[in-house]
Amino acid sequence: MLIALLALVGALVAVYLTLFKVGVIGELVCHIGSCERVNTSRWAVFLGLPVAAWGLATYIVLLVLALMSVQRAGFERQIAWMLVVLSGWSVLFSAWLTSKELFVIHAICIWCVTSATIMTLIFFTSLVELWRARRAERAESFDTRSAAPPAASGSGSMRGSARG
């Protein structure tokens, strides 16, 4: 649930920055740092698209995965892995962008820092989710085993269910 909420807030931040980048919003509200300087630098574009747009796409994917996980669709562990990998990659990318802000552009964009913080929180929450999903799987498999009658008295089909 927390991941879905964080991804939604991150997506809203990314929408705001994307709208500025495409010219819909003229000026960014930026009480700390120099958001426009960062967002008009050459590092605000990645593979021909605004970095904010990449961020938006990533947050949307994270939001969908988080909602699937909340629904308990039956693939919790796989979803948690996807969340960890995607948010982990995004944290590395955010760290690279923040290093550009600090050491090359010499300006900080508070919205970009907010997004990087959100992504880091998503990453750590995903790690916790992955740990929980694995623990739940183990517990389920243990419950199934203990619920099954002893192998000596059980039928073949019962043994099959115990394994499953």
Partner: protein, 258 residues
């Protein structure tokens, strides 16, 4: 009932209960999304409102400044207040301005005057204005102007953009040592400041801002809108029998021509 179907039934019940218990969570997400969207819309509207609205501009004559393109005696005078590092200015310079030059300036309908309006948050704006003014000493202001806007991503945000500017000077066939001496001397800084002050006097708050005739228009407006303003200013000038008032910045009063 088999064990399997009992489990499936139990699982369905759990899922239904879970879906019901998730309702407040989805409502909460919806509320967050709505608040976020409302804030973005409000910020966007505030950003537009903070720009100066289209208004009649002062006709007070001021000292000649800026960089001229076209016939200074054309019926309409256009002033542009821009920042070389501003992305919307670059968008206008590379997309719309070629049409403006060809169809309006070269056609003799108007003259065009560029005023530096370096914004505080762009650290390379003044160096870029300096580079262009030094190219202007060798009669290549507009060539450098175009290069700077076309190559904006190459030097914007650089800690020292001079190297990039120098490659432009070379490519334009300037006397690089003279350009270099001019750039380092910063002798054009007072003119750049005077251009900015003219913008402040006119309450320019965002770049680019245009003065076409008696109208002050903020934003990188498209060509059709630009031409409509020029046509209106030309009609006003014809009606009044004067040169339209953009010339207030050239040192002549609006009634300079009988």
């Amino acid at each position: 009932m088999s064990q399997k179907s009992a489990r499936a039934q139990r699982s369905n019940v759990v899922r239904t209960q879970r879906a019901a218990s998730l309702k407040p969570f989805y409502y909460g997400l919806g509320v967050v999304a709505l608040i976020g969207i409302a804030l973005i819309i409000r910020t966007a509207q505030h950003s537009d409102a903070s720009r100066p609205s289209i208004a009649n501009v002062s006709l007070t004559p001021v000292k000649a400044q800026g960089h001229l393109l076209g016939n200074p005696n054309a019926p309409v005078q256009i002033l542009e207040f821009a920042d070389f590092e501003c992305p919307h200015c670059a968008e206008f310079a590379t997309i719309t301005e070629p049409d403006v030059r060809k169809r309006i300036i070269d056609a003799g309908l108007a003259s065009y005057r560029y005023f530096d309006f370096p914004l505080e948050h762009f650290t390379n704006s003044v160096p870029a204005s300096n580079a262009a003014a030094c190219a202007g000493d060798q009669n290549k202001f507009w060539e450098m102007h175009d290069r700077l806007f076309q190559g904006q991503p190459d030097w914007s945000g650089e800690s020292n953009p001079k190297g990039v500017f120098e490659t432009y000077a070379k490519a334009l066939g300037l006397d690089v040592s003279a350009w270099d001496a001019c750039y380092d001397s910063q002798k054009h800084i007072p003119e750049i400041n005077a251009n900015r002050d003219e913008g402040l006097r006119r309450h320019v708050e965002s770049t680019p801002t245009f003065v076409i005739g008696t109208k002050q228009i903020p934003g990188a407006i498209p060509y059709d809108m630009f031409k409509a303003y020029v046509d209106t200013a030309a009609m006003e000038a014809m009606k009044n029998g004067t040169q339209s008032s953009g010339d207030s910045a050239t040192g002549k009063a609006a009634s300079a021509k009988p």
